[in-house]
């Protein structure tokens, strides 16, 4: 069963001069649990807006979105927030770690919004997750004591600690050098695969996009499938989208 199903999803905003700007136009997308999907596109193509809609942070202007089989309109605001916390893990380009908190505290943050065993065992779960991303020895380190790659690994641990069924990575290697980015993506890919979560990577880097099983290109708000060979060719040419 599809975990995410988008049908004719559009998003538009009204500009200050009264004109309407269409950010997304008729987006159709279905993502199953365990899939790895990439969406490439230039800056301003609507990638982040799509990611926000997929992660229940934003709502489409029109179209149909089913999250875990439930139409979006049937979910209240609080229910969306709870489902987002439970089922979605975000990884941001700028890591978005909480400053002055240790790596352990950062990874424990999503568990503060969990209930039951996840909440009460949050320290242990967070420690285990940091060990899985190779940061078992840096539990007490604050973001300013970690390198970019380490910070993104903390962000990955934080995104995965509640066992989400969907991981949304927005330019996960955008702030990292090529080598560190590759190792971070390798880690993200392997951890997502091992947990069975769906992974949607939004990027303008074809090398990152090439790691996915299904590939899409977002151009001026229109989402279209892309052949993997084309993505690989772009990746080999060293060009970024």
């Amino acid at each position: 069963m599809a975990f995410l199903h988008l049908e004719g999803v559009a998003k538009s905003v009204e500009l200050p001069d009264g004109e309407r700007l269409d950010i997304l136009k008729g987006v159709d997308l279905t993502v199953e649990v365990g899939e790895h999907v990439s969406v490439v596109g230039r800056s301003g193509s609507g990638k982040s807006t799509l990611l926000n809609i997929l992660g229940l942070i934003d709502a489409p202007t029109s179209g149909r979105l089913e999250f875990d089989g439930i139409p979006l309109e049937r979910l209240g605001n609080a229910d969306r927030d709870r489902r987002r916390g439970r089922d979605v893990g975000f990884i941001f380009q700028q890591f978005n770690l909480l400053a002055r908190r240790s790596a352990l505290e950062n990874v424990m943050t999503p568990l503060l919004y969990a209930s039951g065993r996840q909440f009460w065992r949050r320290e242990r779960l967070a420690t285990e997750m940091l060990e899985r991303v190779g940061l078992g020895g840096r539990l007490a380190s604050t973001p300013d004591q970690l390198s970019g790659g380490e910070q993104q690994r903390v962000a990955i641990a934080r995104a995965l600690v509640r066992g989400p069924r969907l991981i949304l990575a927005d330019e996960p290697t955008g702030a990292l050098d090529v080598e560190t980015g590759a190792s971070v993506m390798e880690l993200l890919d392997s951890v997502a695969e091992s947990t069975g979560a769906a992974l949607i990577t939004i990027t303008h880097d074809p090398n990152v996009a090439a790691l996915a099983r299904r590939h899409y290109r977002l151009d001026r708000g229109v989402l279209a499938p892309v052949d993997v060979n084309r993505v690989l060719a772009i990746a080999e040419s060293g060009v970024t989208l």
Binding site: N52, I57, D68, R86, L112, F119, G163
Partner: protein, 426 residues
């Protein structure tokens, strides 16, 4: 890895109770974490609240002590609530009922109603042989219970006891001025004063000293003597000139019901021809509004003003702070924090912080009010130095919590209005 695979299955439905419990504890954990991380800012913002709570608690405690001072002063003159004066007179001649008959009637009636505290109170005169010559002393005549009924403050020694009632040498309580004239002899040495009564000189033992008002300038020659002793010492003329007030200390809650019964029974005991008056003399018996109401309102007004100033400072800092935390709030929202949870957590930060500040504030207030220097100062004015009023501590803590909640509402509303998308990009 197997465990992780299991987690991507459809999650079990959450128990609402468990969710509420973890949300509450989670908010507290978040609030504490926030306070810990931003401890310098929090400490600075809480100085105002702590000072306000200290001031509030000190003012409330000071008010309680001032009330105690005022109450004790009122009680010295009018007696402790409910003090009832009993007088019997002939309505035709205006003559007071004979002392012996009235004393017997009051004793019988108060015994019947099991009233433990009654006293006569009158003023007479006696000559005394002092080191610098014979002086005429003004004598306040009382029964043993009078000291408790009027909270008579003593500079030294102890009030009349049962033992004093049965002494062969009468016990006397003298004024401080008189004590000075006697050379301030240590009361443990049982100093004496020679009273020149009708039957010749009588040695009286000084058992205690009362404070002399400063305006007497050393000329206060007042002494207190038990009525029965005076009756033995004084001449017939001196005795006849004394007008006695009879007082009974009743439980305030039944005083109104008991007073007519006392009137009726005393009148009955005295026989035909006497009217008996019974009226309250204590400060609560005057009727109308509480005589300490103005003092209490003034204290409450100052306390509220102080607290409002503290709250304003806190709101100001909290509003500025929350605007610097928009990105963090957005991150938390992206990881599942509901709007309600963000509201509660931000408000709890304020509440947790102010409760902490309140505890410190109350502690400082206790140190201010109960340190030896302050208590020694209060002791000059109050017989029963009150313990630190629990009310003041509770009001201080309650006010701190309320200020925290009120000051937390505005920033919490600002936090809830944060748009997650904008906040993450912030």
């Amino acid at each position: 890895m197997t465990v992780a695979r299991q987690r991507v299955e459809r999650p079990a439905r959450e128990n609402p109770f468990s969710r509420a419990a973890t949300a509450f504890v989670g908010s507290l954990v978040e609030a504490w974490s926030e306070l810990r991380v931003h401890r310098t800012r929090v400490l600075l913002s809480l100085i105002g609240v702590g000072v306000a709570v200290t001031a509030l608690t000190v003012v409330v405690a000071g008010g309680a002590i001032a009330t105690q001072v005022s109450t004790e002063q009122s009680e010295r003159y009018g007696g402790r609530p409910a003090m009832v004066a009993l007088n019997a007179y002939d309505p035709e001649s205006g003559q007071q009922a004979p002392t012996e008959a009235m004393t017997a009637a009051v004793r019988d009636v108060t015994e019947r109603y099991e009233i433990g505290y009654t006293s006569r109170n009158g003023y007479g005169e006696l000559s005394a042989q002092l080191p610098d010559g014979v002086s005429l002393l003004s004598v306040n005549l009382v029964d043993r219970a009078y000291g408790t009924m009027h909270r008579v403050p003593l500079e030294a020694g102890a009030w009349f006891s049962v033992y004093d009632e049965n002494r062969f040498a009468p016990a006397v309580i003298i004024s401080e001025d008189l004590w000075n004239r006697l050379g301030r002899a240590d009361l443990r040495t049982h100093p004496t004063v020679t009273l020149l009564g009708d039957g010749g000189p009588t040695t009286a033992v000084v058992i205690a000293v009362t404070a002399s008002p400063p305006e007497t300038m050393g000329q206060d020659t007042g002494v207190m003597l038990l009525v029965d002793d005076y009756e033995l010492l004084a001449s017939e003329t001196q005795r006849a000139n004394v007008y006695y007030n009879y007082e009974a200390w009743l439980p305030p809650e039944i005083a109104a019901d008991l007073m007519p019964l006392l009137q009726r029974d005393i009148a009955g005991a005295l026989g035909e021809g006497y009217m008996v008056d019974a009226y309250r003399t204590d400060y609560l018996g005057y009727g109308g509004e509480d005589p300490l109401l103005f003092l209490k309102l003034a204290v409450a007004g100052v306390a509220i003003l102080v607290l409002l100033l503290g709250a304003l400072g806190l709101v100001n800092i909290a509003l500025v702070t929350v605007r610097h935390r928009i990105r963090e709030i957005g991150i938390r929202r992206s990881f599942g924090a509901t709007a309600g949870r963000v509201f509660f957590a931000v408000m709890m930060e304020s509440v947790v912080a102010t409760v902490f500040a309140g505890l410190v504030g109350v502690l400082i207030a206790v140190l201010v009010v109960r340190n030896p220097i302050t208590t020694a100062w209060i002791d000059q004015y109050v017989e029963d130095v009150p313990a630190f009023p629990l009310d003041a501590a509770l009001i201080g803590l309650g006010a701190a919590t309320a200020v925290g909640a009120l000051a937390g509402v505005l920033p919490a509303l600002v936090a809830v209005r944060v748009k997650v998308i904008d906040a993450i990009r912030y």
